[in-house]
Symmetry: C2
Subunit: 387 residues, 2 copies
Amino acid sequence: MKAPPPPPAPLPEAVHTVETPVALVDMDRVRHNLGVTMQYARAHGLDWRPHVKTHKAPALARLQVEAGAAGLTVATPREAEVMAPVASDLLLAHPPVPPKAERLGALPPGVRVSVALDGPDLLPYLARVAREAGRPLRILVEVDVGMGRVGVVRPEAALSLVQRLVGDAGLARHLPWGGLLFYPGHVRLHQDRQEEALAQVAARLGAFLEVLEGAGLPPGVVSGGSTPTLFGSHRIPGLTEIRPGTAIFHDRDSVALGVASLQEVAYTVLATVVSTGVPGQAVVDAGSKALAREEFRAVAGEGGYGLLLDRPEVHVAAVSEEHGILDLSASTWSPRVGDRVRIVPNHVCVSVNLQDHLLAFGREVEGFGTIRLPGRGRGRVTAAPPE
Amino acid sequence: MKAPPPPPAPLPEAVHTVETPVALVDMDRVRHNLGVTMQYARAHGLDWRPHVKTHKAPALARLQVEAGAAGLTVATPREAEVMAPVASDLLLAHPPVPPKAERLGALPPGVRVSVALDGPDLLPYLARVAREAGRPLRILVEVDVGMGRVGVVRPEAALSLVQRLVGDAGLARHLPWGGLLFYPGHVRLHQDRQEEALAQVAARLGAFLEVLEGAGLPPGVVSGGSTPTLFGSHRIPGLTEIRPGTAIFHDRDSVALGVASLQEVAYTVLATVVSTGVPGQAVVDAGSKALAREEFRAVAGEGGYGLLLDRPEVHVAAVSEEHGILDLSASTWSPRVGDRVRIVPNHVCVSVNLQDHLLAFGREVEGFGTIRLPGRGRGRVTAAPPE
């Protein structure tokens, strides 16, 4: 049983005067969401390695570690660099083409580093980097369970890659094999309809496990999962670790997929009505440079780029770069220029990536606190460790 | 006659080693594109006020001013702040809801500031800010010519707003009326098919002009246009000023609309192939956090998120946050992990907004130069004026 969401935290007075668009984070809901995920993982004996691409904030990663995360997942060398001060175990879930692995090699020595890999092409490069850095880079072999993006497609090819890793003493020392990794990003079905899709994922994964086990090479770690499949993870036999990202905040997709309720959405973009000139709509100052122009994928036939937290019948029907158009056709609300709204974006990860910072509020926060996002961008972190 | 595009500039050697994804700018093509726009504007007696939301770079704005721009268009207070050192005439083409106008009031005294407005709601606020700042804020009344986003819809309502501005001595002193402004963002037709759409825009605009002229209030400035309509601007009677943004770089949309050739595209995202595991495709490290997930709107039925500059038959068929999937079905190319490609995004403005900086190259640049993007983000510019 999921814990009930916390009652809405009062918004600081500054919500009426702060310049918009700006992103707000309800810290009570963040803590609730972390607790729900950790409770699920514990109940099913799964390690929890949240993906920090969603928030890019060491301060939030620290909360995840404190809540029980076994490590963190990152998508870029910069995310690894800014998260190293708050976690001792990092997984780069992206093939590290040159010159990215050098940055992993230069991470603090106390951090265990793993990388995902789906072919032998990068092995010489990674082995050289690991040797020169004097640290192992643990390899998780990425397998394709149906998404068709990255990942070894045939179980025999995965076995061959694993055999190469463990069969060569030089490689094995610098690039120890840790297990398998997959991302079922193609499974975006409502919780009630996930059985069949998850059974297919389990079957695909099972074929890899069978071949590896048959060769006497059972994987130590089997890391998989996403936020849409989060609460179906226990239906995937062999899984040892989950990597949800979005679940810290949730978004319009999460709600439509039944993974969260609107009362669990912790992230919104505060925007101001700037025009009511065209009948039937209102225009706000949050567009594709604050919400992202990310189509709504959860429900076929439904469009738009977000909805209002407090008036979910109002959708963001269209966006330009700095304009969002609210469709008022299903609402009795008559907005005026200057009114403020809180928008739930379709996909929170890409909206966070557009913000300078996040404003945190909640019962344990005085006014608005500022959450820095040093994981944004790509450059090497040269300053003192952030946060 | 448009000048022919310059021959391709040689790429610096570092193109093979710089970390990807990163955006490259061909400065020879930038200069060509600015020249083409200025030449068109001069030939038709139009002022050119380029929109800097596309590049957010004072260094590029300076080139526009040097090439003959009469002023700059900005979308946010921050863009105004970072552009003030390089231009003496700025237009905020967005309704300045509180507390944004205060930042306009604080711009250097030598800068003339105009704002777009489509209703009377903000007049008391703007008048107070102008009075307290001791500077006028020139008002351009925004009218809707068919896009249905922002803008006064009825000519009589526009007249009423103008009459209020000019009829009240207090208002007229602080908020002098400068003319009309419109944005035909709904016109995205190939150049060959723009006649009818532009005729509709001209008719809509004409209705506003007729009512204002009939009341003895002809507008001094009529500012309009976009990059898709750029070279049709002379077909809109009464127009005095054009505001193209994208035209400095161009993008996949520009090319598909016939506004530019692929040889005039000055902006690409350099990416590296990270996986060839799934047959028929290659995966690169540029996804929605480098290209943006902006659908291709120029040609109905064609999708994807970009194409390769050097192999335009290869499209970016899908994007995740840090992955782009290249569809190889129309190509004989067999990419390998580590190969590098240059991607033309669908919509350049939102891709630039995702970069830390741009790397410039060309005949007058030694290696890669760095173009800073201080117009990104929203915070007040507190440091010394950026380049």
